[in-house]
């Protein structure tokens, strides 16, 4: 199987350790564009699209395999195997943080560290756990995805007039970013928001940086605190940010926090 084609893998930069960026539900690897340049000078950087997202090979989308996050975790393990060299640090946004944790459980010892951006091990409230959502909220999301069906089938295009002073996002990216096959989007939404990975993360000893936005609807601060409590070697870093994508809306705060966390894996210059 051609992983490069399947997951639209991009390799760049150089360094003794490998950073693998894994995007979350909704978009694709393009979302890392504000962060990646900061690291390519010191790390080997691997970007990829989850199967079903962005420019991955939609033909590889297997409804059975991807009916659980374990399917995506298996893919990530294969990508590490083929493209990573040296210590591997996974940078996972949102659901990809959990995919990374599952991969860590599948190939113990292969992953040196995790950077989890807006992670949540479980979105739905239960008993004494606060995930931030009720089951009907998730059904409401699935309904929203349904009602945007026609929009999904094509693209969520920018307005024709555009906006002045826009970042130069190439046409080809504009046309694929955030576009998903409606059926795949629905299944991925269900798999993501119905998942419960609390058992998988609890006691995971791999060093982990949790980047937690101060105001995030998808992953509230209490969830970040929960993860910090169950991950023995974790650091919780609050980033002043509204929204679920601090790596896009507050990239410098993110890269600063990552720099100090990643320092053990950076080549020290001996002149």
């Amino acid at each position: 199987m051609d992983l490069q084609h399947r997951n639209n893998v991009k390799v760049m930069g150089d360094g003794p350790a490998t950073l693998i960026f894994s995007h979350g539900f909704g978009c694709d690897q393009t979302m890392w564009r504000y962060l990646v340049d900061h690291f390519t000078g010191r790390f080997k950087v691997v970007l990829y699209d989850l199967v079903g997202a962005g420019q991955s090979n939609l033909g590889a989308y297997d409804k059975t395999k991807y009916d659980a996050l374990a399917g995506y975790a298996q893919d990530l393990g294969e990508i590490i195997e083929q493209f990573a060299s040296g210590p591997v640090i996974l940078v996972g946004h949102s659901v990809s943080a959990m995919i990374g944790a599952l991969t860590d459980r599948q190939v113990p010892g292969r992953i040196a560290a995790h950077v989890m951006i807006g992670p949540s091990p479980c979105y739905i409230d239960s008993n004494d756990y606060v995930g931030g959502f009720k089951l009907e909220d998730i059904h409401s999301l699935l309904d929203t995805l349904d009602s945007n069906y026609l929009g999904w089938s094509s693209t969520m295009a920018p307005v024709i007039m555009g906006a002045p002073g826009q970042p130069a996002l190439g046409e080809e990216l504009t046309n694929s970013f955030c576009r998903t096959e409606p059926e795949i989007a629905k299944q991925f939404a269900r798999v993501t928001f119905m998942s419960d990975n609390r058992k998988d993360v609890t006691g995971l000893t791999t060093p982990t940086l949790i980047l937690q936005s101060t105001d995030d609807l998808i992953a509230p601060v209490v969830v970040g605190e929960y993860l910090h409590a169950v991950l023995p070697n974790s650091t919780l870093c609050l980033v002043a940010n509204v929204g679920h994508c601090p790596h896009m809306s507050a990239p410098s705060a993110c890269s600063e926090a990552m720099d100090s966390f990643l320092s053990p894996w950076v080549r020290t210059h001996v002149d």
């Binding site: 909704g26 979302m31 059904h139 409401s140 999301l141 009602s147 990216l173 105001d215 929204g243 679920h244």
Partner: protein, 394 residues
């Protein structure tokens, strides 16, 4: 008539009363300004809207969608067009709107400028479309499933047919082998009894030799019948090899032989028409033989048995008539089925109950048919019809 140009409404009125909702927010969604139209649509006053986050006006599904999709899009491509959103009106009902938005840099910073359009009817229409598509997909799935089931059924049928073919061919072979093997000892028995009959015998010995000979003949007929039965019932059908014959001659010869076989019966032969027909002569004789044997067994031997061969209008037929008891209606329906017998007589002519079945099968093999007519007064007539001579066959 005035020469003044009509004055346009001032920009403030244009903004407030535009035929769409207009909202300006900070990058985090905090509403800085919303026009009157939007305020009316959503049910909150303009002061209430200011300071609220735009995403707070969405349904929960819409909020997640905002966070995972259109917020990153606004960030990445600076604008979105025609995103459908469900907003929650002050009175809790859902208002569906289409959103166009751009991120615009001003001297004082970046703002999101949003234009919203009511889209309730279009939303209904789209939902109908989605529903229709789902129905179509379900139907397609159903059709595919039906086709698969049909294919499976056909495969099963095919394999069942193959099994049946194999069994039939096995049965045919077995019966053929058994009949053949039985014929040899019978022939030996007949030859031996013939040779014995040539010498000087007591009356008792002669009678016993007669019994041996008759029984051997009967056994031979039974074997032939069984072989035909097997071919017709489980095998490939009774085989015929037709040729152009003189029907009257064939029947006449058969009647002659039957007179010797049934000396107590009176057999009459009627020939009608020219007589040229395309038939298997041996099989026709077998038909006559079986029908006459039946008449002898069940008919009134005080009255003649009439055999008629007829060839008119390109149609050939043979019939056998006897005066005897009427065939009961209940028996008529199953008369031609195998193992059917008439009254329990103990005649030597009786076979295993395959005679009429074989008559019918031979008629069928000729693409003809057999019928029976039985009534008080006019007696019983079996009539075998053969179709018109096919010129191609000659």
């Amino acid at each position: 008539m005035s020469t003044d140009a009509p004055s346009l409404p001032d920009p403030q009125t244009l903004f407030e009363e535009a035929p769409c909702g207009l909202v300006v927010t900070k990058e985090d969604g905090t509403i800085l300004r919303a026009n009157l139209t939007f305020s009316h649509w959503i049910g909150f006053s303009q002061p209430e809207l200011c300071g609220k986050r735009f995403q707070e006006l969405l349904t929960m599904g819409g909020r997640i969608f905002h966070q995972t999709h259109w917020a990153p899009l606004m960030q990445m491509q600076g604008s979105v067009a025609e995103v459908k959103l469900d907003l929650v009106h002050r009175d809790k009902r859902t208002v569906t709107m289409l959103l166009n938005g751009v991120r615009r840099e001003h001297a004082s910073g970046s703002f999101y400028e949003l234009a919203l359009f009511g889209t309730t009817d279009r939303d209904k229409y789209e939902r109908e479309l989605v529903k229709a598509r789902k129905v179509a997909e379900d139907l397609l799935r159903e059709k595919t499933a039906t086709e698969t089931a049909l294919q499976n059924a056909q495969d099963e049928l095919k394999s069942a047919y193959e099994i049946a073919q194999r069994r039939a061919s096995f049965a045919e072979q077995m019966v053929a082998i058994v009949s053949h093997d039985l014929k040899n000892p019978l022939t030996a028995i007949k030859m031996a009894s013939d040779i014995l009959a040539r010498g000087e015998r007591t009356a008792k010995e002669t009678r016993m030799l007669g019994h041996i000979s008759q029984s051997a003949d009967r056994a031979e007929r039974m074997i032939a019948d069984l072989l035909d039965f097997t071919l017709a019932k489980v095998g490939s059908g009774i085989a015929i090899s037709p040729s152009t014959v003189d029907l009257h001659k064939v029947v006449s010869q058969s009647v002659g032989e039957l007179r010797i076989a049934f000396p107590k019966a009176t057999l009459l032969h009627n020939a009608i028409g020219a007589g040229r027909a395309y038939l298997d002569a041996d099989r026709v004789q077998q038909i006559i033989g079986n029908l006459v044997a039946n008449s002898v067994a069940y008919g009134d031997l005080q009255q003649p048995i009439t055999i008629t061969s007829r060839q008119e209008d390109d149609e050939a037929s043979v019939s056998v008539h006897n005066q005897g008891p009427v065939i009961p209606q209940s028996l008529k329906a199953i008369l031609f089925e195998p193992m059917t017998r008439g009254t329990e007589t103990d005649s030597d002519a009786r076979s295993v109950g395959l005679g009429l079945f074989i008559v019918r099968e031979i008629a069928k093999a000729h693409e003809g048919h057999v019928s029976v007519d039985s009534s008080t007064g006019s007696g019983t007539t079996f009539d075998v019809h053969f179709p018109a001579i096919d010129a191609d066959r000659e």
